[in-house]
Symmetry: C2
Subunit: 314 residues, 2 copies
Amino acid sequence: MFIGVDIGGTNVKMGIVSKMGRILASTSFKTNIPRSPENLIDEIVVNINNLLTKSNLTLKDVEGVGFGVPGLIDTKNGIIIKAGNLNWEKVDFVKLFKNKMNLPVKMENDANCALLGESRFGGAREYNNAILITLGTGIGSGIMLDGKLLSGNGCNSECGHMVIQVNGEQCACGQRGCWERYASSSALTRRTIEAAKQNPDSKLNDIIKKWNGKVSAITTFNAAKMGDAVAKQLVDDYINYISTGLISLAWIFHPEVFVIGGGIAKEGANFIAPIQQKLDNFVKENNFYPSIAVKKTVLEDNLGIVGAASLMMG
Amino acid sequence: MFIGVDIGGTNVKMGIVSKMGRILASTSFKTNIPRSPENLIDEIVVNINNLLTKSNLTLKDVEGVGFGVPGLIDTKNGIIIKAGNLNWEKVDFVKLFKNKMNLPVKMENDANCALLGESRFGGAREYNNAILITLGTGIGSGIMLDGKLLSGNGCNSECGHMVIQVNGEQCACGQRGCWERYASSSALTRRTIEAAKQNPDSKLNDIIKKWNGKVSAITTFNAAKMGDAVAKQLVDDYINYISTGLISLAWIFHPEVFVIGGGIAKEGANFIAPIQQKLDNFVKENNFYPSIAVKKTVLEDNLGIVGAASLMMG
């Protein structure tokens, strides 16, 4: 048995995972930032013991614990270099955990974990060269080449900060024009709110009013489906922003597949098909490429836990 | 002894190289495009024999022949997938050469060769994680991680086609806004010619007239040094374009050093220092990075031959 722990900015999700990728028991609790790593680890340890008891297992049944963390990770040394959403910098996480629970442990960036999970149990199974991106508040990225996670200088990639617009929108990282300022799901939400304000007579604005101002990236896709021109333009631009970054990555890495995760990927065909179309055009225009598939993550809500557990599956 | 052959769009440069990276004998001839690979190989074979004779060596002294080719290379299978400047597609190059000369042979993208050369004998010797870019008609890129050349799906990277400006200038690849449309040395030349036309009273325009309309990227740097405001703006923008792409690559690969090649890198401190400054600011702003050095290639005119020969040095 393996334990997967997905530490997010809002929730910690964790579970016991079989070597076939099945979740036998799981739980979650609020991350409650700001919080010290030691304090969070204490709650994780309590929950590991609870999950084991609930499943009639003991520590001896655990082959290892994998942690997925949103941030820049020094995998080799088990150190969180920086995790902005957790407000942590230079945390000797693996060592802190081992002080509390003597089990084999690995930690990786959460998007890399997701890619491992999709690669072992999900939509990237047939591929040795795969890139996964998660569209959320920012853009997370995991890159697998020849079956191995890419690690530059011991660190994970952070493709969300590739610049796609010189002198473009200000990003929290200090740069301007980062990909995630245009292609994250929160970027689409932000653009949708702006566009609705500027177009008070649009169906988009009606929908937002009907939901008492609540907007998510899904709102825009729904309004576009209803034929609203403002929303359609937003969606077209959004697909273009996403595809632009993917094509940049294709020139660098020549992947066989892009796997896209995050709530918005649940839009399914509406969302994936036009991106696939852009990639197909690209491949055709540069006829030296094999085709590049575009897929959404298939492990869905289990991805975080199963991905983290996959770290320990060798 | 090793033989290095650098096939460029204009010239083929080749030489005999010692294991210490010294060129013992060299020659060059016009590539003369359009030309069949077989025909070019014939001329290369003649020249290899001539160089050996001239150096009192025989084929038995040759440990291998390395080829550097500007394009997308399938290194494993020795195939040129596409080399736009040579007008070649899907060329089984290594096999064709071996039909004529039975020696150990390897072929790589020319920027990857340059990085190998700089890594073994030049400015990247102390680094295991290095990225080299060459600024010419386009932008070539070589990426080394943990001492090994990056190979995605068996191919070299083509970072010159990362998009840095969504919906930007049209590129020959079919996309808009590619990095090389802004940061190659030919991009600077093109912008310089436009700016001089639009500012007929500028010192920049005077200089261009004095040289009978001949413009290179160096022209702009010279005019900027003389205090011309138009040229200064061009140089500032150019440095920004280059740095923007480098920083995108830093987020993805976390390199220890960027090595910059191409004629314009000979500008030296005028050129490298402001890029280093941009990278230093980036590192400071995201305080989790170690510093990233920026250097120009040091092998200069020998880089093509020595780099290609390095392919065979294990």
